[in-house]
């Protein structure tokens, strides 16, 4: 694995950063989340979300984009579109895409925006197109839009046999998205503890604060590199390790960041929740950390593990 970005990757990320620069500011109103519809449209039109379909590019380039976009306080469906859709019989441009692995009656992330739904089962994936009339938006506190199918039995699904491929790409996307959220969440708290004074000194000068933020930084950096490694190798073991590591550490990571943001960090007027809520939602995906860890063990050491 080469840790340096290629010339093409640098160019892509530079162009993406110039777009994202206009979407760094959190919404003014205190809201649990804000879907970046305008950002979504720009990313779609400029072709970033189709990068893995382009000659010479692949899942690693897609993961780089997922991680970068996830740093925005605005939420946009990127992971499924860039990493999962290219391996499925979904027409290019039919997005956003909602990924789901539970009962069809349950709340589904991104369903209110989705034009396609991918349901992952043990031995296959099922794909359906969605229109707005089939979805009821539901209230959520987890920084993503969630919706419920009004009449699940009315959907017509197409079968896709390689469930493992879908699961693998989903895991990579989830880890990359978590990594991006961690970068911005940590940055917002570092700024707070640098400028906030208590006991006559910046909060960040206290060792109790420094040590745990150093650990948070270690988690964020590890999540990021594991996600990129999984995208680069595109293997089941690496994908499960990246997703499992991220999920296993999200709880401690978010608690520490909220702790050092103080009471301000508990309000919707402070931006931390735009990333911490998303992280919490991601922590429960695909069965959670222990499920990914068992999958990684099985992939590396076989069923005997």
């Amino acid at each position: 694995m080469n840790y340096d970005l290629s010339e093409d990757q640098s160019s892509v990320l530079s162009a993406l950063d110039s777009i994202l620069a206009d979407y760094k500011a959190p919404p003014i109103e205190p809201v649990p989340f804000a879907y970046g519809a305008e950002l979504d449209a720009i990313l779609t039109e400029s072709g970033f979300l189709d990068i893995a379909r382009e000659e010479g590019f692949g899942p690693l380039d897609a993961a780089l984009i997922v991680e970068r976009v996830a740093r925005s306080p605005l939420v946009v469906e990127v992971a499924a579109s860039t990493l999962v859709a290219p391996v499925l019989p979904i027409p290019q441009g039919l997005r956003p895409i909602a990924l789901h692995d539970g009962a069809l009656t349950a709340p589904i992330r991104f369903l209110p925006q989705a034009r396609a739904l991918v349901v992952l089962r043990d031995d296959h994936a099922a794909i359906a197109t969605i229109d707005a009339g089939q979805v009821e938006e539901i209230e959520t506190m987890m920084a993503y839009p969630y919706g419920r199918l009004v009449e699940p039995t009315a959907l017509s699904f197409e079968r896709f046999d390689d469930a493992g491929l879908v699961r693998r790409r989903w895991r990579i996307g989830m880890a990359a998205e978590a990594a991006g959220c961690m970068v911005s969440a940590l940055a917002s708290v570092l700024e707070h503890v640098t400028t906030r004074f208590a006991f006559g000194r910046p909060l960040g000068s206290l060792q109790a604060v420094q040590h745990r933020l150093a650990m948070a930084s270690e988690i964020a950096e590890s999540t990021r590199w594991l996600a990129f490694r999984a995208a680069w190798s595109d293997t089941e073991a690496d994908a499960a390790i990246a997703a499992g590591y991220a999920q296993a550490h999200i709880s401690q990571f978010t608690y520490d960041l909220h702790q050092f943001s103080g009471a301000m960090g508990l309000t919707l007027e402070y931006p931390l929740h735009f990333w911490s809520y998303r992280l919490r939602a991601l922590a429960g995906e695909l069965g959670g950390a222990s499920h990914q860890s068992r999958s990684a063990a099985a992939a590396i050491w076989g069923e005997a593990a």
């Binding site: 349950a106 506190m141 208590a198 103080g262 508990l266 309000t267 222990s290």
Partner: protein, 375 residues
Amino acid sequence: MSETPAQFRRRARSWLETNIPSDKAPLDGIAARDYALAWQRRQFEGGWAGLAWPKKAGGCGLSILQQIIWYEEYARAGAPRTLDPLFVALNHAGPTIIACGSADQQAYHLPRILAGMVVWCQGFSEPNAGSDLAGLKMRGRIEGNELVVEGQKIWSSYADMAVWQELLIRTDPEAKISAALSWVICPMDAPGITVRPILTMAGAYKYCEVFYDNVRIPLANVVGGLNNGWATAMSTLSFERGTASLGLLIALTLRIEEMLADCPSSRPLMKARLAQLRAEAAAVRATAYRVALDNEHGVPDASGSIVRLSFSELEQRATAAAVDLYGLDGAKVIGGHGLGHEYLDAFSETIAGGTSEIQRNIIGERLLGLPKGPR
């Protein structure tokens, strides 16, 4: 012949079974206030308010053991959560006025608190002074027999519905902090007070900012003596750290039991995690009982910080486990009264009433006798 603990338990259980509200407590607003006041009134009229408060303070004068039994039965019956709009009145203001208030203050305020007539809020934190109470800047200057107060407080839970506030202000600008503050009973309807509720990440309007523009408060409202507010405030925080969380702790223990019962055998790792939480809950509960019994007749000592620290962190771990057990879309998790709300609300537990870091400092310095380090 006095009532045995077992008889007391039976009587408490019987009363709770027939009297707890059938509807859930609203999360915020006037509806939350009215619900909490009505429930407190019902307990008062039934003879179950202020169980461990002294009789001369209007309480029942019962032992701390009986108080513990009440909390156990209260949690077992599924009675409303005690972290409600009356928490400050019953667990901060009341005990502080009992410990430090004048006879007039006790005679006026304690009956109203116990009878469920008033909501109190806390006014300690300021925008630039949270954990660092010594950094308080808000001034109160003396004019005749009044204090004239100007400034801002923040994180004042339920200030939007409170009648009174326990307000900590700097009344001597020159003195060291231990002789600079006063703990004052502030009427929230005084001219010059503006309250702005803040939406929390758990989805409720609980915290408020309070702005004071030349608010006049009678000097007679000072509790514990002018410029002695640091000591009075430490009493208040000792109550919060010591005994106030007993009811919440017992309810949390039962919640973990319920989670263990709900956990399917196909999830052995989750079962092990819950069993570990159950063990931790038993340990915290034993510590909390010990601290409560040791401090039966006075202001809780610094060991209350052990209870506060271990309870708050346990609650965060337990609510996180609940979300993992039932799933983000689980029936017990979603909705305003779901565990998802409690999970998000629990983030505040290790910040309010002194952060976990402050509690660790107290334990290290005051219980273990370690040298005081730089803050």
